[in-house]
């Protein structure tokens, strides 16, 4: 934080409005969800106020455990894929001329304007047997006959990465564009090859930005719930799909609430763990 701590009520006023909005639209609904997760479910679609742990006890099923770990696995893997692709990509963009950088950024922003629904259906079409890219490959003589590349795990992972890649670039862009161009040059004059310079100095000095981008994509992809249904098979459905199913189709609100809260705590735990690992060894102070 820069500058002095604000003094008195008046200097705190500017945060009042966002704080109010945050309270109304985030904290109160979250509180309601926490309360519902302890309510008693009445078969037939309603719940009555109460305080019981039944909904949390009911989470202890093989399906929930499997889906939870699969969701975390998919989110972690897509975050890893996105960051490892986006980091070198963003680095090379930031080394380009200003105009070229702007063109690339505008292009990425335009991808952001596509919603999960459009991306999901577009890729389901492009990966299909009847109208997909494989037909193009056949036409080019690279394949014998058209093939369906979806639904499946690879298609799901591809879709999620396509969705999250522009965000990853936008998170990495500011710190990478501020990177002192003399740093890689210094590494070279000290005898490091370009490859060693990239991993030793550029990746090394950007470790915080990389961890931040990883956490951002991880959290972002945890919430994906349309793509698994469009591009994946039922065994690829993530916890978000399961929660939606409980809330809307099974009309079991208390169960959905307890799932969501448990999911949130596990994710927060993992994010905290990532941050700790990302910080790495502490250099002795003093």
């Amino acid at each position: 934080m820069i500058g002095e701590r604000p003094k008195g009520i008046r200097s705190h006023l500017p945060v009042a409005y966002p704080a109010l909005m945050l309270g109304i639209f985030f904290i109160i609904p979250f509180g309601i969800m926490v309360a519902i997760s302890f309510f008693h479910r009445q078969p037939g679609g309603f719940y009555i106020p109460g305080f019981e742990f039944t909904n949390y006890k009911n989470l202890y099923t093989a399906l929930f455990g499997r889906t939870l770990s699969f969701s975390l696995f998919v989110a972690g893997l897509s975050a890893a894929v996105c960051v490892s692709l986006a980091f070198p990509f963003t680095y090379f963009i930031t080394r380009m001329r200003r105009r070229t950088q702007v063109i690339w950024l505008v292009f990425l922003m335009s991808v952001l304007s596509l919603s999960e629904v459009i991306i999901g259906f577009a890729w389901s079409l492009l990966l299909s047997r009847t109208a997909g890219i494989s037909n193009l490959m056949v036409w080019l003589g690279l394949m014998e006959q058209p093939k369906a590349w979806y639904p499946g795990f690879a298609a799901l992972l591809f879709g999620i990465c396509y969705l999250a890649f522009p965000y990853t670039v936008l998170v990495l862009y500011p710190p990478l564009s501020r990177l002192d161009p003399a740093l890689p040059e210094a590494s070279q004059t000290l005898g490091a090859s370009p490859l060693r310079t990239f991993f030793g100095v550029i990746v090394g000095s950007m470790r915080n930005a990389i961890v931040a981008a990883f956490v951002m994509v991880f959290v972002f992809t945890l919430g994906v719930y349309l793509l698994p249904q469009i591009l994946g098979r039922p065994q690829h459905w993530t916890l978000s799909v399961l929660i939606t199913d409980q809330a809307i189709y099974q009309t079991n609100m208390p169960m959905a609430a307890s799932m969501a809260i448990f999911f949130m705590f596990v994710s927060l735990l993992l994010v905290a763990l990532t941050m700790v690992i990302g910080k790495g060894k502490k250099i002795k102070t003093q």
Binding site: E185, T189, A192, G204, S205, T285
Partner: protein, 352 residues
């Protein structure tokens, strides 16, 4: 004694020319300063030597061997950058031994070398500190130690002292010069500060705004015998008087005549020339005295900074600045008449 040779170096960035027709021979073990105003191409020249840029034309040779196309990481030079470029994610010790780690030097040797180098730059015991915990001067020393870790063939410095405050800069100049003399490493320093160049260099390369090398020589040679008006004006302060040649040893300035000791070759009667006289060579006498080689005028301003006194004399529209010690200060005050005496030996004639 081959040293570093630059042959007919040109460098263009698109349509912008950064260096033109540079031919230099830099002998071993010397401290060389590239001096010039900003945008004259001195940093580009250093980057060409370091291998961070490639010349558009020309060759670079080190001890007779071509290194024009050798990549930077195979040249074994040490470089200190203007921004210092210390690695923020590494400790002081790790920064200093980076070049040794890259070369897979044994860990025990690395530690020994780090201790030696930090001792050399007076930062013993700072191995485990974080870069952000150091002051500007300490960072400077770390950058110097890091560049010297492999005993570089050439030690290159790109305006490394420009970010320091005046006092620290002066003491670092002295320290750097002593360090270079102790190690005997061939050093090239880029600077726009002529005082810095005069303090440290054995040899100064003055570059002009046209991206050419204007003069190469020892600091005193360049100060005493500037090759053209740009060098005379850029190095120290100088009185530059426009005039025309009248006979073998005489220059006409306005309606006054000046005798000079030497005339450059290729100057004949009527050629317009510039006379350069250093302020400390001009003495001022009170009143309008009749002397040889003098200009009469009125005192317009006196700058007395304690250690020296500068007297500004307005001689019929021509401004003459004289510098003297407080003890030798003439008894004049602004508005008084005065006579400036310009000894013939101090009047350097330059072709305009």
């Amino acid at each position: 004694m081959a040293g570093l040779t630059l042959e007919d170096i040109h460098k263009n960035f698109g349509s912008v020319v950064a260096a033109r027709e540079v031919n230099l021979k830099l002998p071993h073990g010397r401290f060389v300063c590239f001096l010039g105003p900003s945008g004259c191409g001195k940093t580009t020249l250093l980057r060409l030597i370091a291998g961070l840029e490639s010349p558009t034309q020309g060759h670079i040779l080190l001890d007779g061997e071509h290194i024009t196309w050798t990549p930077a990481h195979k040249r074994n030079f040490g470089m200190v950058f203007q921004s210092l470029a210390l690695f923020p994610h590494l400790s002081v010790g790790e920064n200093v031994t980076y070049s040794l780690r890259v070369r897979h030097v044994k860990k025990s040797t690395q530690q020994k070398r780090a201790a030696e180098l930090l001792d050399l730059v007076q930062l013993s015991g700072f191995e485990d500190r974080h870069i952000s915990q150091l002051s500007g001067g300490q960072r400077q020393r770390v950058a110097i130690a890091r560049a010297l870790a492999i005993d570089p063939l050439l030690f290159l410095l790109d305006e490394p002292l420009s970010a320091l405050d005046a006092k620290l800069r002066e003491s670092m100049q002295l320290e750097l010069r002593l360090l270079q003399q102790r190690l005997g490493v061939t050093t090239i320093l880029v600077t726009h500060d002529q005082r810095e160049a005069m303090t440290m260099a054995d040899m100064v390369v003055v570059m002009g705004p046209d991206n050419r090398v204007r003069q190469v020589g020892t600091p005193l040679d360049i100060y005493r015998q500037p090759s053209d008006t740009f060098v005379a004006d850029f190095i120290g302060s100088s009185n530059l008087l426009q005039g025309s040649c009248m006979g073998a040893r005489e220059i006409k300035i306005g309606d006054q005549h000046l005798e000079v000791a030497e005339m450059p070759a290729g100057v004949s009667d009527g050629t317009s020339v510039t006379v350069s006289v250093r302020p400390e060579d001009i003495s001022v006498l009170p009143g309008a005295e009749k002397r040889d080689n003098c200009l009469h005028g009125t005192v317009s301003f006196i700058r007395d900074v304690g250690s020296n006194v500068e007297i500004y004399l307005n001689c019929k529209g021509l401004q003459i600045i004289s510098q003297s010690t407080p003890k030798g200060r003439p008894d004049v005050k602004p508005g008084d008449e005065g006579t400036a005496i310009l000894p013939p030996a101090s009047c350097i004639v330059l072709k305009s």
